[in-house]
Symmetry: D2
Subunit: 121 residues, 4 copies
């Protein structure tokens, strides 16, 4: 059993919500807020760790499972939001990467922490 | 040109960062913070919209592009974080969905707003 | 017993952390992440509520207490962060309000949803 | 001119919004989302800094002003939200601190990173 592709995940999530009649809660503002909540839970796992502890976070099995679960929750709501907004997420990322490759030419951007803003602005 | 798969996106993102020597910034805590920043920017697009305006957000071309860009940025940092933590995101989501299907049986969960907590706890 | 002022809250919080030897965890990045976590928990309370339910959220005593607790947690980390960064929060807000009063003249800003960005940019 | 107190800040903010007829946007869900956006902007300032750079973040005057502005924006929306929900923020914090002083006795909590969850759960 290999790694599932986008389309099968999107479908499974859509079915999961539809079977429970949860579509009524899944409007864009609510889903953005749910995404915020899950990112908050992910953040709480890392907040008091030192950088070396954070780099080694997956070595503890219980914590590793908690991290995988939170990453999955973030992705779940991101995919639901894309479904509701009719956005093809992999295509959107591909388009953004093409923009950013033009915006941050390799020569000018290399190791540049000062001007480093990447996707943030 | 079809929709890219996970593996090709993960690789392209990894190369994007490596070519610019940005791996040095991409430790787990920093990437979680970057994810927070992008979710914040996505939230700002929706914060003052009424629910009907939000449901119709993609009808304005400029706003639609801004939304696709922010969704892409969120996904970018989510994939980078998974890469750094060595988490297979689609597999993690699949595992979480299996857990949640057991946790929220269809009959007991249907349309239940009161007990509705879904992935949040 | 009246409402405490800023200085007494700041001092009580500082003492609370110092007595538990938690200052070691309270560097700016960690405190920003803790603030994110608390804002996430606050968001989770409101995420599935309709706007009328949200407007009426304090009518349920258990939920009202949960909301007051989360608002307090957000404020706690905001004050800790200001303490660590040596920022006088009420003075900073006063200065920002003065900027924004100039930036958003009453006549041009009245009820303007389209251009309404307020503090966000 | 000293530091303003809570009540004068709350009043000034309330007037600021009312004069611009922005109350219509300030329902609880929207204000929570605006708070998320501002915390996101604050996070972006710190995300790529090393811990020593973050500890020294206020030494750069332009960055110090940006940080003060974002802290003020977070506080602005936190106070607006409390006003709309009719929560007395300093009283709520005082009550939460009393709870937490009982929950985290000094002797058991001292320097305890492992069990350290503080306000997060």
């Amino acid at each position: 059993m290999g790694s599932p592709d986008f389309e099968s995940l999107r479908q499974r999530i859509k079915t999961f919500a539809a079977e429970r009649d949860w579509d009524q809660f899944h409007d864009p503002k609510n889903l953005v807020m749910a995404l915020v909540g899950e990112v908050g839970e992910l953040t709480e796992i890392f907040q008091w760790l030192t950088p070396p502890e954070a780099a080694n976070a997956m070595s503890d099995p219980a914590r590793a499972e908690a991290i995988r679960d939170e990453l999955a929750d973030v992705f779940y709501y991101l995919l639901r939001l894309c479904d509701v907004l009719d956005v093809d997420l992999p295509v959107a990322l591909q388009a953004k990467l093409t923009k950013n490759e033009a915006r941050y030419p390799v020569e000018k951007s290399r190791g540049n922490a000062k001007k480093y803003t990447e996707f943030t602005s």
